[in-house]
Subunit: 158 residues, 3 copies
């Protein structure tokens, strides 16, 4: 049985590696932070608050996450940009033993080639974390972002 | 007697709930993070550095905080916006046993309807935290923001 | 022998004091966070990824850091601005016992006189931390920022 403190350190580590792998475009490492059966969704706050089904990005399994990454890195034509994640305010909403329901605020900065860095997407993560193979992983990750403008320029996961 | 580590986890949790309650506009939960006798003040850095008394927002008790929230949610005419708090660099300036003097950096992002998210207000929290009813609460919270422009558009607490 | 948890609290504290000392322009305190023999470098991500030697700012000892600070505070003509650091996602890349190899994401906001706060410089710290005189200090600090534009307006350390 892990202590509250050990759990907290492992959670911090999970979120740190989530940000680092995305920002360094190490997508295989990023996918490894999810369980096989997983749910990933990016949704505007308004849709979330009103229970509207529309998602800006969605994957219902690790296989779909891999497809998405393949699309990004191999087939889609798009102008690449760097991402930089800043995450804070992580807390455990509910500890069900098997599953931890966590929440955190995030800000993603985007840097396009030959441009200055800018605020890209801010919001909160509403996640379910489980132990899988001795490590914490995301079983569900919901990214609820504040801007009502749907950024069709959202290429990479946030 | 709490260990340094327990205290740190509780502090992290206090700051996380502070951000989450404001950003989700759960103002009753936010007010619950303050002691009955409390002091809340938002002040530009220049005024703070020069010891000038002018505040952008101030409340000298939980009752005044409630009045402010009532004004925001019920009577004031204003264009609503979403807030998103990112807080980091929390440390204990001084531990007086009864009272913890803490400090942290914050960045608040604002999202107006049909607009993109933007940097709204950045600065530092200079706080006094005490145990009240078995939980850590803010006895004093001073928000010192960097921009010398006084944002008259600052509606919600930061 | 420190526990993983004690080490983590001390690391958090080191990064918090790094941000606070820079943002409050307490440069002597900032220099004290480095070992005598130290290496500080600010470099664009593209140069870092391609192993190009060009640095935006560099110091190869604490003496050079002091010179730089002297230049900033005493001799250089420049328009001053406030900095605000937000740091998150700290993790230990490798623990060699003597030396900790750490990484974290950072966002620095800049506030010029009579202007609003803006995103200034975002990136990651790639650091080496050692124990020196009973405290953790930076032996190496590499700041890799995302924007390919070299900000010649970068006056202060980030």
């Amino acid at each position: 049985m892990k202590s509250a403190i050990e759990l907290r350190l492992e959670l911090d580590d999970l979120y740190a590696r989530y940000a680092a792998s995305l920002d360094e475009a190490r997508y295989d490492d990023w996918i490894d932070l999810f369980t096989d059966e997983c749910f990933y969704r990016v949704v505007p706050r308004e849709n979330f608050d009103r229970n509207l089904p529309l998602s800006t990005m969605m994957a219902e399994s690790r296989g779909m996450l891999k497809d998405r990454i393949y699309g990004i890195t191999s087939t889609l034509y798009h102008q690449p940009y760097y991402q930089r994640h800043i995450v804070s305010g992580l807390f455990i909403r509910k500890n069900e033993g098997e599953a931890l329901h966590t929440q955190a605020n995030y800000a993603v900065f985007r840097t396009k080639q030959n441009e200055i860095s800018e605020v890209f997407n801010v919001g909160r993560y509403i996640d379910t974390v489980v132990t899988d193979g001795g490590r914490l992983k995301f079983k569900e990750k919901l990214c609820v972002f504040d801007s009502e403008l749907i950024p069709n320029s959202l290429i990479y996961p946030v």
